[in-house]
Amino acid sequence: MTPDHLVALLCPPLHNPRRRRGGNMAPEKSATVPQFLRGAELVKQGAEARVYRTQFLGRPTIVKERFSKRYRHVALDEKLTRRRTVQEVRSILRCRRAGIPAPAVYFVDYTSHCIFLEEILRSSTVRDHIASTQQSASCTVQELDRDQDRELVQEQELEQLAQQVGQILAKMHDEDVIHGDLTTSNMLLRRSPEDRGSDLVLIDFGLSYISALPEDKGVDLYVLEKAFLSTHPHTEALFQKLLKSYSASSKKSSAVLKKLDEVRLRGRKRSMVG
């Protein structure tokens, strides 16, 4: 037997086209949406999806396209991608129902796994906002008293923002929505048109799910803590403010924060398998 034969024996081809029994498994693909996206502006490419900016029905729109991953078995890939697309739009609606700002969904194409979302205009990520506030604070650190005042104002402003984040996450967890990917990049700060402050909009519910378990909520906060402290150095006190406002606004916070302490000691995975 040649080595090639051996390989063929040991590793049956995953993408054998004959294994795709047409009909129930492979839905017809419509090529129209991918073709349309070729003309759209690519905003970001992640591990799981590409995000485009475009006009849809005359409105500024963001399109999130989940692409297929060639290394996964076709059937599994289709199933996972579809489930995540569905889960994402479901969680968005659940949040909006509860009064938590999230982008409106305009259209979903389950054949090409694209979600068409309202573009949040006049917004920046919380990540950029914190970073730029911190930077402008450190620039002025050597100057005089007047600038110290400014620094104080900026610090207060960040604390207010942390409080706002804590409140909104408390509200989300009280609705049993677990975001699954809480980072400061997945929160947008939208300035209101009349400049009456700004509100927070949660985005990217691709890894979200519904659960009432304090464990899951604790892990959700743990993921945020890790992401928060690593993207924004020297913000331990700020994050404590966030947790404080979380516990003040959520009815079930004590169990969640207890779990968070547990998760900190052992890491995000409960079982050590896999």
């Binding site: 839905p27 017809e28 419509s30 129209t32 949406v33 349309f36 475009t54 006009q55 849809f56 029905l57 005359g58 409105r59 569905v86 739009v89 479901r90 968005i92 609606l93 909006r96 129902r97 509860a98 009064g99 938590i100 700002p101 999230a102 409106a104 969904v105 305009y106 259209f107 979903v108 194409d109 054949t111 068409f116 309202e118 509100d199």
Partner: protein, 175 residues
């Protein structure tokens, strides 16, 4: 007075909306649409918040038609069905389609570009006064819409009623 929008995803499909008030032949129009003599969807404008709602429904209908997954028998009936938050076809027709005694009608036609003659012919069958499509917001029965779509006041703190309605229309098949 017509509102015309090309569907960006389907460039050879264009949607035109026309709004009529003081309509006297609603029953006759409805019958013509059922018989296929009017190639358009007749919608009850009191259930619309904004013309954008119709565009979302029409876009989805064309998409489902192209992939062969429509739930109803024609493109026009699919537009009406897509406006509804539920998956009940007859209820969708009852609430969002034109009823015999209606005095106002939103006429929606999906056509190719530059088919003004076709639009005129269809519009000519309506015995009523055409008004700008944007006026639809004066006709909307907001209380009824909020109730049917189950929109709680807290949801309107984070977005408009239109957003709430459009979200439910877009997601209804997986709820």
């Amino acid at each position: 007075m017509n509102l015309t929008q090309e569907l960006e995803l389907f460039p050879d499909h264009t949607v035109t909306q026309m709004l009529f008030k003081e309509v006297k032949n609603a029953a006759e129009l409805r019958q013509s649409a059922v018989d296929g003599r009017i190639n358009g969807a007749l919608i009850n404008p009191t259930m619309l918040v904004n013309p954008f709602q119709v565009l979302v429904a029409a876009n989805k209908a064309v998409h489902l038609q192209l992939i062969g997954k429509m739930k109803t028998r024609s493109l026009n009936s699919e537009i009406i069905f897509n406006l509804s938050p539920t998956n009940n076809i007859s209820e969708a027709f009852k609430r969002f389609g034109t009823s015999d005694g209606d005095e106002s009608v939103m006429l929606v036609v999906v056509h190719c570009k530059n088919e003004s003659q076709l639009l005129e012919d269809i519009a000519a069958q309506v015995d009523g006064r055409q008004v700008p499509v944007e006026d639809v917001s004066w006709l909307s029965d907001l209380a009824k819409i909020r109730k049917l779509f189950k929109v709680a006041p807290q949801e309107e703190t984070c977005g408009t009623l239109l957003d709430a309605v459009v979200c439910r229309m877009a997601i209804k098949d997986v709820m």
